[in-house]
């Protein structure tokens, strides 16, 4: 009953058979043991599961693993390059943009993608761009600071 899928995850080729009902986030967490991508709701509201799929930020709880067949994925574990943190990861640390850290991977993935689409956003555009991701700890202020800090370079 497994369906074969073949995709790239964080630069590595992956071939697996999955149950058709498997969500992409389950596939990442349970099959590939990439547990940095989190689940915080069941309605695609919180964004904790955000990853990059073919260059777009997507909520991995909202697509099936079989739909990712042939795609190139990047998760929080693969966002940095050559052993270095991505500038957004560094900025979250430097601006105290996380507290409990549960929403953080999804928030970083969304924020990184936001700047790919719009490299020089205003504060309002940053806030608007992150409205698919919920954080209950920080009040978002330092998250916005982190994104703006990356913009400033």
């Amino acid at each position: 009953m497994g369906v074969p899928i073949s995709l790239t995850v964080n630069g590595k080729h992956v071939d697996r058979e999955v149950e058709p009902r498997t969500l992409l986030v389950q596939f990442l967490r349970e099959e590939l043991e990439l547990t940095g991508t989190h689940v915080g709701c069941d309605t695609s509201s919180c964004g904790a599961c955000t990853i990059h799929l073919d260059g777009e930020a997507v909520k991995s709880c909202t697509i099936l693993a079989v739909q990712a067949d042939g795609a190139a994925l990047v998760t929080i574990e693969g966002l940095g390059k050559d052993g270095e943190l991505h500038p957004m990861q560094r900025a979250f640390h430097e601006q105290h943009a996380l507290q409990c850290g549960y929403c953080t991977p999804g928030m970083i993935m969304s924020a990184a993608h936001l700047l790919e689409r719009n490299p020089n956003p205003t504060e309002a555009e940053v806030r608007h761009g992150l409205e698919g991701n919920l954080c209950r700890c920080t009040g978002y202020q330092n998250i916005v600071e982190a994104v703006l800090a990356v913009v400033k370079g």
């Binding site: 915080g40 919180c46 507290q99 409990c100 953080t104 209950r136 700890c137 920080t138 009040g139 978002y140």
Partner: protein, 786 residues
């Protein structure tokens, strides 16, 4: 933002957090990230009815599903006891049994009825749906004011009238003062029901090794030691055989200051099946099976002199406790009772609190826990009084502040406020918010067709829970102390083990700063361990803005013990009397002879080597402290919200938000600012967006994050914050607590600002949340009357 540019990371600096590295790299370890050999998965069949008799449970279809390991009901799970409640404020609180799985009757939507253990999470959830339960629905009691009336449906035989407990407090001479006061204002205020919504739902992984009857429970909790104690008691196993680990915990906000039915059930399922069993709460489950917060109705009358001096307050509070009691349910509104006078010199109160059972999810501690209800009430009342007297809201508050010289101040509810200096915080907030020039901004907005208002909240809270004598006096079945171990290793690095249990507060960072300041051991060479009963002495956990003011002091005192012992060793090695030494920058040195010196690292090595110790001194540099706080701490501040209401849609936008808080001395300003931001936003969320809604049949209408609105960044303002510093005399660091300040302060100033904006229409009160439809309707109603 401040960083370690100075290279220092002591008390008062803002080193970046030690906690962050794994969390930003996707290497956090939350319960759902853990896997154990042979692990099975749990799911619960839950009641769809708010109140019903169970006439039949048929588990056969569920058991027949391939991959199902076991299906349990209350008849087969084998747990006699119920979910514990450690709170009995009057000694006569009705504490009906809450079964782990329903026993013949359900009293709320979401009550667990059956437990499935299966080889995968998906199979477990499929099987939970396949359990057939026949229910005979019963009439429901949903609204507490109706549930109190004669003839209302009854939840528990031991609680006639659905009454859990009544708490009263009336000062001597109240009636004469109240009756004689020339001015009285009254409001009915509904502090609505909320859902905490930590972004990580609850999660439990139980690993019961049946061969030696030892259990390890990984659980997303703020209170691992409480979980251990109660798991041992309820499941009948030695407490010494239970280890509870809170790994990374994805937020709590009070909702994980509890011990839940699912923790007992999953542990027992592991014991019975011999498999490690994991249960991950879905968000939809969490909306009904994790505690709710607030839901307190208040009828208040404030009596004052004609010049605005407040004299007496009468209040009847009705707290909805839900269908059952959780760990501290009855105590939450009791904290409101204590904080009713706020930071005003209000000599007389007459308080009646009725706590009422209804067919809803239990309420319990949610960030602020009883104090936001008090602050919101007294701050609405002060604005109502200012309006009645035609006085400026800031000046009315200033007139009634407890004066600086009056501390320690005994409140009308019997608390001893440790320290306070309220006017500087008010003045600073008024200046930062351009309060004096507000009317021009109001006029400018009015010209655009909008309504602009400004509102104040001058707040005080009770922090640092709690002196054990007080917890006993108010009927809480646990002390309020905290523990710390400090172990200096032979090479001079240090391990701290704290009984406090962080879930985002940054203890590893702040505790390391305390060690650097007190012992001169560099920040980077201090490791902090928390959240594991296998390592830690008993700890009471993280809640009630207590971690620094109680747990931090336990560590501070432990540092002193270690330094004192090091002094004896140094004196022995330097061949002098201990009194001849002085402490400076991590070293004991002979007074006047800076070349005769032993660093803490040298002394740690000497204490470990052990061969040249002074007589009667044990080897090694290690100490343990259990710190009992002599009193609470009372942080305070002034918040100012400036809002604009769209004249056509009723949408409220916060244009400016200013917070001046005083939490005593500060260990890490960066972390304190973060706590302030988060607390304020959670409180703005209550003021503008969030409400848990039940219909008249007891169905929850806000059962997912689609229906229950957690605000995103786009809905929220930038916060401007500052501090004043009034140290607490209660503890040697002079610290107070900041975790809940924002949630306690913000609702009142936002609502006060909205009422101020619409006062020209004759509007004198608005209920939360100020969703556009409600505000729009209020505007239409007011215009209709004009």
């Amino acid at each position: 933002m401040a960083t370690v540019e100075t290279g220092r990371a002591g008390v008062g600096d803002s080193p970046l957090r030690k906690e962050d590295a794994p969390l930003i790299a996707g290497q956090g370890r939350f319960v759902d990230d853990l896997k154990l050999p042979g692990m099975a998965f749990a799911a619960f069949t839950r009641s769809p009815h708010a109140h019903a008799t169970i006439t039949r449970i048929d588990t056969s279809a569920a058991e027949a599903i391939e991959g199902v390991v076991a299906v349990y009901t209350s008849a087969t799970l084998g747990i006699e006891g119920g979910v514990p409640c450690a709170s009995n404020p009057t000694g006569e609180t009705k504490q009906p049994k809450r079964p782990i799985l329903a026993e013949g009757r359900v009293r709320m939507v979401g009550e667990p009825v059956a437990l499935i253990v299966a080889s995968s999470q998906a199979i477990a959830r499929d099987a939970a749906d396949a359990v057939v339960v026949d229910y005979d629905p019963l009439p429901v009691a949903i609204h507490p004011e109706k549930a109190m009336l004669p003839g209302a449906p009854q939840l528990h035989e031991i609680a006639p009238g659905n009454k859990c407990v009544t708490i009263t407090h009336k000062t001597e001479g109240f009636d004469a003062v109240f009756d004689a006061a020339p001015v009285k204002v009254s409001l009915t205020i509904d502090n609505q029901r909320l859902v905490p919504v930590a972004i990580e739902p609850r999660a439990v992984l139980a690993d019961w090794v049946t061969a030696n009857d030892e259990v390890t429970l990984y659980t997303s909790t703020q209170v691992p030691h409480f979980v251990r104690t109660f798991v041992a008691a309820v499941l009948g196993v030695s407490e010494a055989k239970v280890r509870v680990i809170a790994p990374d915990v994805g937020g709590g906000f009070g909702s994980k200051l509890n011990v839940y039915a699912e923790e007992f059930a999953v542990a027992q399922a592991s014991r019975l099946t011999g498999h490690p069993v994991k249960w991950i709460e879905t968000r939809s489950e969490a909306m009904v099976s994790t505690i709710h917060g607030r839901d307190q109705l208040q009828h208040a009358t404030l009596a004052a002199d004609a010049d605005g001096r407040v004299r007496a307050l009468r209040i009847h509070m009705i707290q909805d406790v839900g269908a059952y009691l959780q760990l501290l349910t009855p105590t939450i509104a009791h904290l409101t009772v204590f904080m009713v006078p706020g930071l005003y010199d209000l000599p007389h109160v007459d308080i009646t609190l009725d706590e009422i059972f209804t067919n809803t999810t239990p309420t319990d501690a949610y960030r602020g826990a009883g104090r936001p209800e008090a602050t919101h009430m007294i701050e609405r009342m002060m604005d109502r009084l200012a309006d009645e007297l035609g006085m400026d809201a800031a000046e009315l508050r200033r007139k009634n502040f407890i004066p600086k010289a009056a501390f320690p101040y005994t409140s009308a509810t019997g608390l001893s406020y440790d320290s306070g200096d309220y006017e500087p915080a008010l003045d600073k907030a008024l200046e930062m918010s351009d309060y004096s020039t507000f009317e021009a901004r109001r006029a400018e907005a009015r010209a655009r067709g909008n309504y602009r208002g400004i509102g104040l909240s001058t707040w005080v809270e009770i922090c640092g829970l709690a002196p054990s004598a007080v917890t006993k006096a108010i009927g809480v079945g646990a002390g309020g102390w905290e523990s710390a171990i400090l172990r200096i290793h032979p090479t001079g690095s240090a391990t701290v083990i704290t009984g406090s249990s962080a879930h985002g507060q940054g203890h590893e960072t702040s505790w390391s700063q305390i060690v650097e300041s007190e012992l001169g051991i560099p920040f980077d060479q201090v490791e902090v361990i928390h959240g594991d009963t296998g390592y830690s002495p008993y700890g009471l956990g993280t809640y009630g803005s207590r971690s620094l003011a109680v747990g931090g002091i336990a560590l501070f005192n432990t540092c002193e013990k270690v330094r004192d012992k090091a002094q004896l060793i140094a004196a022995h090695l330097l061949e002098c009397a201990p009194g001849d030494l002085e402490w400076a920058d991590g070293k004991w040195q002979v007074k006047g002879s800076p070349d005769k010196v032993k660093t803490i690292q040298e002394l740690a090595y000497a204490a470990w080597a052990g061969d040249s110790m002074p007589a009667g001194v044990e080897p090694n540099l290690e100490a343990t402290t259990f710190f009992e706080p002599p009193n609470f701490t009372f942080p305070f501040g002034t918040h100012v919200a400036e809002i604009e209401i769209d004249g056509e849609t009723g949408k409220v936008t916060i244009e400016r938000y200013t917070a001046v808080d005083d939490c005593g001395n500060v260990v890490n300003p960066m972390i304190v600012d973060g706590q302030v931001h988060g607390g304020i936003v959670q409180s703005i969320a209550q003021a503008l967006f969030e409400e848990a809604v039940y219909d008249d049949s007891g169905q929850i209408l806000t059962s997912s994050l689609v229906d229950y609105m957690i605000p995103a960044a786009s809905e929220l303002p930038r916060i401007t914050s500052a501090r004043t510093v009034t140290p607490s005399p209660t503890n040697p660091m002079g610290v107070k607590g900041i975790g809940e300040a924002g949630t306690i302060a913000a609702t009142a100033c936002v609502v006060n600002a909205a009422v101020d904006a619409l006062s020209e229409l004759g509007i004198r009160h608005l209920e939360m949340p100020l969703q556009p439809a409600r505000v729009w309707q209020a505007i239409q109603d007011a215009k209709g009357k004009q």
